[in-house]
């Protein structure tokens, strides 16, 4: 612990504070707040009841007003801290509120109604996690169906992405042919075209192919990624050509060279692309929303959208399910971060 502290707290100015120390701390703390703030807010809010969500100013932890069952009243009554005229603070339960006067009752002596100005009372708050935000959707929302669709789309799309992109990368890195650079450039140029631009033509293609309202309609248009081809090609360029010559001398067919020599050696870059692809496809929203109109085909992200109705947005469910859908991606990054950084560095610089 002391070493960690020493590492974290060491300063350029030695004992004093150099201005760069101050700047670094501010910068990093700012970064942490910027990056983690929304995530923390999301996780915290996902446990809030709808009432707590509507509260202003918002709190980070999910607070609710404490309630108590008082003899003579059917429903539990909310508790308030009331400063009496004698300066003593008592905890009273509110029976009802009329204008600016609250009718309150002491839980210990339920017979007597006390009238209190609402300015003189503050709610007794306690932390309470609204776990039903999580459990309810599992029971009433088709979470598992959506999860299955999402998994199918993510895994299939990733698998096909890896195979097609690596084949393209193999051809573009290991074969000499006229127009090779042009083809590569063309592929990279598609990076400049965002999905929203080709949405309509893509839709008509999918529709013409009869893939509308089919998970394959979600999968197929996304599998050829210029980023993936570029990433893999750069990595494959580092595989020595002598290996391929050796395989040719070893009577390997071109397919065997690709499948048994080049592909295994590209594994680090493939891992990176797989991680990216999983994250991309898992988080996809716009395209599945367009292609899928039948509820039983929804992916998780589209399914979440059903909570946002025209008149009523069920924020508590949206937030809770957002946390759930975020988890796999977070886990992927936590555990595979090493591959991502080494893979990108390796494929870009070598």
């Amino acid at each position: 612990m002391t070493r960690v502290a020493a590492f974290l707290l060491r300063r350029r100015g030695g004992k004093g504070w150099h201005w760069t120390d101050v700047f670094t701390w501010m910068w990093l703390i700012g970064g942490v707040v910027l990056m983690f703030g929304p995530a923390v807010w999301l996780a915290g809010s996902s446990f809030k009841s709808p009432a707590a969500l509507a509260e202003f100013p918002p709190s980070i932890l999910p607070y609710v007003t404490a309630e108590a069952t008082v003899e003579g009243y059917e429903k539990p009554l909310p508790l308030y801290r009331v400063a009496g005229e004698d300066g003593e603070t008592r905890i009273l339960a509110q029976v009802r509120r009329i204008g600016i006067v609250a009718q309150m009752v002491d839980p210990k002596a339920p017979g007597e109604i006390v009238k209190v100005n609402i300015a003189d009372r503050t709610p007794v708050r306690e932390i309470s996690f609204a776990t039903e935000n999580y459990t309810e959707p599992f029971l009433h929302f088709d979470f598992f169906l959506y999860l299955r669709n999402s998994l199918f789309v993510t895994l299939m799309a990733t698998l096909i992405t890896l195979v097609t992109n690596s084949m393209a990368a193999f051809a573009l890195s290991k074969y000499q042919f006229r127009g090779r650079s042009f083809v590569m450039l063309l592929i990279l140029a598609t990076l400049m075209v965002p999905l929203s631009v080709i949405l309509v033509p893509l839709y008509s293609i999918i529709s013409a192919m009869g893939l509308f309202n089919s998970l394959w309609g979600v999968i197929l248009p996304t599998v050829a990624t210029p980023t993936g081809v570029f990433l893999l090609r750069q990595y494959m360029l580092t595989i020595p050509d002598e290996l391929i010559d050796a395989a040719r001398m070893d009577r390997a067919s071109e397919w065997q060279i690709y499948w048994r020599i080049v592909l295994p050696l590209t594994a680090p870059a493939l891992a990176v692309l797989a991680i990216f692809s999983v994250v991309w496809r898992w988080n996809d929203f716009l395209w599945p929303l367009i292609v899928l109109s039948r509820k039983e085909l929804y992916t998780l992200q589209v399914g979440l959208n059903t909570y946002a109705g025209e008149l009523n947005v069920q924020w508590h469910y949206i937030l809770a399910m957002t946390v759930v859908t975020m988890l796999p991606v977070v886990l992927v990054f936590v555990f595979l971060q090493r591959f991502i950084t080494t893979g990108i560095a390796g494929s870009g610089l070598k």
Binding site: P240, E242, L243, D245, A246, A247, R248, M249, D250, R251, A252, S253, Q256, R260, I261, P264, L265, A267
Partner: protein, 363 residues
């Protein structure tokens, strides 16, 4: 069977001529070494034979059949690459089996061949390791093993020893020679190291700038270099060259003067002798110079550097006329930098080249 014939082979990359006019016959069981300075096209020539590149002109025949259009895989050749090109993700066994599996050989036969090669090359203990876990010498053996199991008609070796340290290179060189003696398979060996070429080769092909300069046995190359390039390239340290002039024609050659008043007869073919007039170049190998005795023809040299190697001493010097001289003297003569010594030579070991650098005589 492993006769390889090259007939008028040329190779150009775009407008750059890499190889041209390559005619060569390699007999079955022969170990031929391609040698030359870097960039001379020797590796390209090997790749043409292997089928990894296509010649722009000429014919390649293996056992009489033209193989220009036959892909590398079907030429029945095996190649050992400079970087070994072992598949890093496969075990040693996997590396050796890969080529055989691709020919759909039965598992048993593959195992037997690998066992045989492993025994021959003493790599049995490493069969299940990955190439990354092996030392340079072991990787070299595996690369050779991968070639051997194929039972090829000929081995093509592209600078196979250049990645090894000096000591290991000597050992592996001897092992390669022994291997060739045992397998009696045709081998084509590319190197820029003339010691490897001299020690291994049945015949050496000296290449320069994409052209064959001379093809002959190692000793013939050393004793009768066909031109100035071969004379300078083969033999270490390099041959001394001195400009000379023709004094007179002799019945079987020329009388030549060189080095400020030295004069010697050199043999030359009659036709050549007549053609050669005026300037020519004389060559003496450093090993053929010795400290002059009384009465011998001699020339004075000022010593600029002495490299004592123990068994022999390399003396660098300058003649009165300013020509640099290298002499390899046996033993440990007492010579120091700045000394003036007289060197002598054997007249019958002189090499003479005409103005175009072509050998005049077969001394």
């Amino acid at each position: 069977m492993g006769r390889i014939t090259l007939d008028g082979i040329a190779k150009a990359y775009g407008s750059v001529d890499v190889l041209g006019d390559i005619d060569l016959k390699i007999d079955d069981g022969e170990l031929v070494v391609f040698v030359g300075p870097s960039g001379c096209g020797k590796s390209t020539l090997l790749r043409l034979i292997a089928g990894l590149d296509k010649p722009t002109a000429g014919e390649i025949r293996i056992d009489g059949a033209v193989v220009n259009r036959v892909p590398a895989a079907d030429r029945g050749l095996a190649m050992v690459f400079q970087s070994y090109a072992l598949y890093p993700h496969m075990s040693v066994r996997g590396n050796m089996a890969f080529g055989l599996e691709n020919s759909h050989m039965p598992r048993k036969e593959i195992e037997a061949r690998i066992a045989e090669a492993a025994r021959m090359l003493e790599i049995g203990p490493y069969l299940d390791r990955r190439p990354g876990q092996l030392s340079g010498g072991q990787r070299q053996r595996v690369a050779i093993g991968r070639a051997i199991v194929r039972n090829p008609t000929a081995f093509l070796l592209d600078e196979p020893l250049s990645n090894l340290d000096a000591e290991l290179r000597v050992t592996m060189r001897a092992e390669l020679a022994a291997l060739h003696a045992r397998l009696k398979t045709t081998m084509i060996y590319v190197t820029h190291d003339q010691v490897e070429a001299m020690t291994l080769a049945d015949r050496i092909v000296v290449l320069r700038a994409g052209r064959i300069e001379q093809v002959d046995t190692p000793l013939n190359l050393f004793n009768k270099p066909a031109n100035l390039f071969v004379a300078g390239f083969i033999g270490a340290p390099n041959m001394n060259f001195f400009p000379g002039t023709v004094d007179a024609a002799l019945p079987d050659g020329l009388s030549v003067s060189f080095l400020d008043g030295q004069s010697a007869p050199v043999k030359a073919d009659p036709g050549v002798a007549a053609a050669a007039s005026g300037a020519l170049t004389l060559g003496i190998r450093p090993q053929h110079l010795h400290l002059a005795q009384e009465g011998e023809p001699q020339f004075p040299v000022t010593v600029t550097l002495v490299e004592a190697l123990g068994a022999e001493t390399v003396v660098h010097g300058v003649t009165g006329g300013g020509a640099r001289v290298l002499a390899v003297l046996p033993g440990q003569p007492e010579i120091a930098k700045g000394d003036a010594v007289a060197l002598s030579y054997k007249r019958d070991l002189l090499h003479a080249f005409d103005g175009d650098g072509i050998r005049l005589a077969g001394n």
